[in-house]
Symmetry: C2
Subunit: 255 residues, 2 copies
């Protein structure tokens, strides 16, 4: 099984998105697509005369922002991706975490920062997702979850991909989790295309963090990836589409 | 099996909506929920500085309007309804027509009026929906469909309910199609709550249309209902929640 996560940048580039969907639709066997979509949400928030609220790269989700991200992630982007996959002959089915109770979360507790309606994932239901896959359906997951009490929550898409992979791994599936983003891998220097790191282990990751080579938004992504391999996900691979197609990109390993 | 369609008015009244969801969630056995949502779409269209375009009660769906109705129907309303049903212990799964290829449509041909991205339904996939039901999932259908080539289409929610009922009837299911709206039934006089019509047959319907008792938006709804019973749907019942709960409302019959 392959779980592919595509990020907000690709969603905004029609040609790159079409290629990524061609790649995904052609995967033989079981596959799950996970998408973000933050930039389109920002555009809609702006059209409604609001300014996106972010702290440390995380969105502050007030009630109106939750409405907008639900519309954009679960409505516009998810539904169009499903239609695009149908056009490629892949029988996709779009899901938020509320659909089939696929991903249960809880509202993030307020410590120093109140993130509003942000969801911390409690777990994905690999059993239900497995039934869809067995019925010939390919799940397409958007980063909206719910708390089981009727409250929708805005959730990080990398976390959705990761938790889904972990749930399948725990259910005994052999799987590869692939993060498709704009670089050929995790970069030592984003201005040098050849500087991608082939393998990351906890030890090398710690070194790269200590010397500042790996910083910013890559840290939560890689923390997620190490959590996944520690939980039994066979492989986590990070790269652009060309790298993933070629079996390249950064491989995150336990040791 | 019960297919319940709830309209845009109920969606805008939190107390009435909660009652309708209580009723739906408590249905024993297989059930499908279909919803519209036109008024919320109008509100979002207005927030984005546009005026909804309508001709004869039908929306003209230009590209931006399609984006908005996709966000509102498939995103906001559908996802929240699913979360609300989960909170009531019903394992719901939200679907547009693209999801699992549930409902295929084609763009309405342009004759005198160009409706834009409006979808005429070609058919619902009772086989796929039946698999979801067998897996313990309760489909919640929104009125966005697709053409199989990647184009999303805006579709009348009554038609979605009707075509889904017809597909299940053709697949041998015994089912009741229920339209929940704001009146106790099809009314002779909307100012007289006792004037609801208990039974409509093609002959009595023709008379009521001829003398103007039934007019306007009820006509496409009832045309749909007669199409459904003619195609083998066991029962079509139209009324408000109190009427449907009591087994009352207008029953549409073949003869």
């Amino acid at each position: 099984m392959i779980i592919l996560k595509i990020g907000g940048n690709i969603l905004n580039m029609p040609a790159a998105l079409a290629e990524a969907l061609d790649y995904f639709a052609a995967i033989e066997g079981e596959a799950v697509l996970v998408h973000g979509g933050g930039r389109k949400a920002d555009a809609v928030i702006a059209e409604m005369g609001r300014v996106p609220k972010m702290i440390d790269g995380r969105r502050i989700t007030d009630a109106l922002t939750l409405e907008i991200v639900t519309m954009v992630y679960a409505g516009l982007i998810n539904t169009q991706l499903v239609a695009d996959l149908q056009a490629r002959g892949r029988n996709a089915i779009g899901l938020s975490g509320a659909d089939g109770n696929a991903i249960l979360a809880r509202k993030r507790p307020v410590n120093t920062i109140d993130y509003g309606f942000a969801g911390d994932v409690l777990g994905a239901d690999a059993g239900m997702l497995g039934k869809l896959l067995k019925a010939g359906l390919t799940p397409v997951l958007c980063p909206i979850t719910h708390d089981g009490q009727g409250q929708l929550l805005n959730t990080n898409a990398d976390t959705i991909a990761n938790e889904t992979a972990i749930a399948f791994a725990r259910a005994g599936h052999d799987l590869s989790l692939r993060y498709c983003f704009e670089f050929p891998g995790v970069m030592r220097d984003i201005h040098d295309a050849d500087s991608w790191i082939p393998i990351l282990t906890p030890a090398t990751y710690a070194n790269f963090k200590a010397d500042g080579t790996i910083a910013g938004g890559m840290i939560p992504k890689l923390d997620n990836a190490f959590t996944a391999v520690a939980a039994g996900v066979g492989e986590v691979r990070i790269g652009n589409l060309a790298a993933l197609r070629a079996g390249l990109g950064t491989v995150v390993k336990n040791s």
